[in-house]
Amino acid sequence: MRDKRMTADEVVAELADGMTVGIGGWGSRRKPMALVRAILRSPLRDLTVVSYGGPDVGLLCAAGKVRELVYGFVSLDSIPYDPWFRRARESGELRVRELDEGMLQCGLRAAGHRLPFLPIRAGLGSDVLRVNPDLRTVRSPYDGEEVLAMPPLRLDAALVHLNRADRHGNAQYLGPDPYFDDLFCLAADRRYVSCERIVDTAELTAGGPAQSLLLNRMMVEGVVETPGGAHFTSCVPDYGRDEAFQRRYADAAADPDQWPSFVDQFLSGTETDYQAAVNAARVGA
C-alpha cells in the first residue's frame, strides 16, 4: 500500500495562493498547529480559511495569510476571544462569511455528499441571511415548510490533526470527540493529516475500537508525524491544552509591542525550533 508520509513543509508546498483551506479541530482543541505553523513560515497568501476557529485563525490572520474567513465562531475556549482574530475582524480588512456551527456543518455535509444544498432550520430569521445575501431558502415539496438551503462548502484542501495514523492515511482519534475532521476531509479535494505518532496499521486497530479510525486511506493524501503538533491546543489523551502558553500567546497577541518578540522567540524558525523554544520557556517559567 502507498506510503503517504511527508513533512509539514511538503504539505504546504502542495497548497497554492487563493485556495480554500479547511482546518479541523474545534476552538482551541486538536488543531493541526504544526501545519498552521508551516503555513506561517511559507509565502502562501490570500487563503480562504474554513474553521471552527481557534488560535489557527488568529495566527494566520496575524501573518496576513487570510483573505476570507468562513466560520461559526472563533475562540480559545478558556480565553473567550482570540486577540488577532478580533483585530483583523474589527479592522475590516478581513472578508468574513459568518455562519453558525450548524450551518457550517451542513455546508461541509453538502460538500461531502456532493449535493447542491442540504436543508437546515438554523439561520432562518437571523441576520446571517441579511449579511449573506447569497444564501437562499427552499420550500418543502411535501408540506410547504421553508428551510434554509445551505450550499456546499467545497474545500481545496483540508488540514487535520489526529492522535495516531499509519503511513497509508488511516487515522485515529483517541480523545472524546471526533470534532468535524472527517467532514473536512470529505468536503476537500486534497486531505492532509498530521498526527502525534505514525504506527503500524495493526497497532491502530489494537489502540481503540474500529469507530475511532476516523479517517481511512481513501480520504487522505498525506500523513505527517508531528509530535506536539497540536500544541498549544489540546490533543487528549496525549496532552491537554497548554494553558500557560495559550495565555502567553493571547497576552502577546493583545499587545502590538509584545507581538514581535513572541514571533521572534517562537515563530521564526522550524517546528523543531518551536518545540525547543516552548520547552525552554516552560523550564524558565
Binding site: R114, N170, A210, Q211, L214, M218
Partner: protein, 260 residues
C-alpha cells in the same frame, strides 16, 4: 515468452471457478470496490489475494478496506469489521461514499438481468401484487448501480436469469437504451461488464445493449445464445477468456476452503 509455473493453465476447473476468476481479473489494483455478498465477494477477495492486493473492499455494513481471510457470510460478518481500515455507520456509507461517486466499481449480482443491464432483485412474475417468487429486495443495489463510477455484474447465465425485460427494475442499468442514464441524472457509467459462467458481455457504446464480447474456454457461442432470453448480438472480434492459472485456482480454492 515461456509460462511460469504460476501462470500455467490449470488442468481441471468448474464453470463457476472460471466465472469467479474472470470476474476477479476485471478488478484493477488500487481501486475501490463496493462488494455485494455472494459471487461478487468471492471474486473481489480472489482479486485481493492475486493481482490486486491494494484493492479497497467496501461492504455496505460500513466496513471500508476490509481484508477478510475467509469469505464473509453476510455484510454483517464480524470478519469484515475486524479487518477493515475503518468502520463507519451505514448512513455514512450511502451519504459520503456512494452518493458522491467516490467508489470506482460497484460489484453486483442479479436474479434477473435484461438486455440493457437492468437488474431485478425484487419479484419474479408479471403481477407485482401476486408474484411467482418474492426475492429479498433492493438492499443497497439501486444506489450502487446509480453512483459507482462503473458497475460490474457477476451472474450465472440462463434463460431464466437473462431476460428480454426484467419483471421489475430494481437497479437501473442502461434503462431502455442510449441517453436514459443521462436523462435520469444517474452519475455513474452503469454496468460496463457482465461476467457469467459462459463468457463476458459489455454494453454496445451506441445502443447500450449487452453484447457477447468473450466466451470462456470450451464454450460455444450457440450455447451462450441458448442461455440468453433475447436475440444476442455477438461482437465481431469475439475474444476467448484465458483459462484460470494454477495460482488463481489455488487461491480461489484456498478461499472457499477457508470459508466452508
Amino acid at each position: 515468452m515461456s509460462q511460469t509455473a504460476s501462470a500455467r493453465p490449470a488442468a481441471g476447473y468448474t464453470t463457476d471457478e472460471m466465472m469467479s476468476v474472470a470476474a476477479a481479473r476485471a478488478l484493477r489494483d488500487g481501486t475501490s470496490c463496493f462488494v455485494g455478498i455472494g459471487l461478487p465477494s468471492t471474486a473481489a477477495n480472489l482479486a485481493r489475494r492475486t493481482h490486486a492486493p491494494n484493492l479497497v473492499l467496501i461492504y455496505e455494513s460500513g466496513c471500508l478496506g476490509a481484508k477478510p481471510d475467509r469469505l464473509p457470510l453476510s455484510i454483517g460478518d464480524g470478519v469484515l469489521a475486524d479487518t477493515a481500515d475503518a468502520v463507519i455507520g451505514v448512513p455514512e456509507v450511502f451519504n459520503y461514499w456512494l452518493q458522491p461517486g467516490r467508489i470506482d466499481v460497484g460489484f453486483l449480482s442479479a436474479a434477473q438481468l435484461d438486455r440493457f443491464g437492468n437488474i431485478n432483485t425484487t419479484v419474479i412474475g408479471d403481477d407485482y401484487a401476486d408474484p411467482t417468487v418474492r426475492l429479498p429486495g433492493a438492499g443497497g443495489a439501486p444506489e450502487i448501480a446509480a453512483s459507482c463510477r462503473e458497475v460490474f455484474v457477476v451472474v450465472r447465465q440462463s434463460r431464466r436469469s437473462f431476460v428480454e425485460r426484467v419483471d421489475f427494475v430494481t437497479s437501473v442499468g442502461h434503462g431502455r437504451g442510449p441517453g436514459d442514464r443521462e436523462r435520469l441524472g444517474l452519475p455513474g457509467a452503469g454496468p460496463v461488464l457482465v461476467i457469467t459462467d459462459l463468457g463476458v458481455l459489455r454494453p454496445d457504446p451506441h445502443t447500450r445493449e449487452l453484447v457477447l464480447t468473450d466466451v470462456h474456454p470450451g464454450v460455444e457461442v450457440d450455447a451462450v445464445r441458448a442461455a440468453t432470453g433475447w436475440d444476442l448480438t455477438v461482437a465481431d472480434d469475439l475474444g476467448r477468456t484465458p483459462e484460470p492459472t494454477e495460482r488463481e485456482l489455488t487461491a480461489l480454492r484456498a478461499l472457499t476452503a477457508a470459508s466452508a
